[in-house]
Symmetry: C2
Subunit: 112 residues, 2 copies
């Protein structure tokens, strides 16, 4: 999976993962790997800045917790985040349809 492809779609994945309940960053990586059959294995340097962005945008809310001596930042969807996710799902469906159509459809033969 090339890196550039993911651009603009990562936020949707993170929000969708948090739809299943609050999670911390490391667990989100695990869940995305699981949900994709291992094809989505995102580095921490991708996840954490993205979570910070989403938190600043108030789409997710974070809080610290400590379990087994390890500090974790637990994130959960805000109402705004849930609305954003719905919009992003619709966006994705349209985007995927457009790209698929343009890729698969035989274009009109060029007049040249």
């Amino acid at each position: 999976m090339r890196a550039e492809e993911l651009k603009g779609h990562l936020d949707s994945l993170l929000l969708a993962t948090l739809e299943g309940g609050p999670r911390h960053g490391y667990a989100i990586i695990d869940e995305l790997r699981r949900a994709s059959g291992g094809r989505l294995d995102l580095p921490t340097g991708t996840i954490y800045p993205a979570l910070h962005r989403l938190e600043q945008a108030r789409l997710i809310a974070g809080s610290w917790s400590v379990a087994a001596g390890r500090r974790r930042r637990i994130y959960q969807l805000t109402p705004a985040g849930a609305r954003a996710l719905a919009g992003k799902r619709a966006d994705w469906r349209e985007f995927a349809a457009v790209i698929t159509a343009a890729l698969e459809a035989r274009p009109c033969p060029s007049p040249a």
Copy 2:
């Protein structure tokens, strides 16, 4: 259609459009608009640099022509471009499947 979404997929669209025969930049914009039902309306500042990239990568070959007093740069797929397009189509199908799965699938409830 948000801008970031397209990143990493534009090259595929351009190659696919040229699969229908040689075309110049302006005509590619028209064809993409037609093939997408108007939902893909790319600015020239997006198309031309992308075409230059693809030409430098030898995936397309350009040549000047003059019709009705207007100079045009006609591009056509190279054999390498056709191979690249096949790969990109496969990439897209996998990418779309992964994102769709991650977006639609209910994730495992978090243990938290």
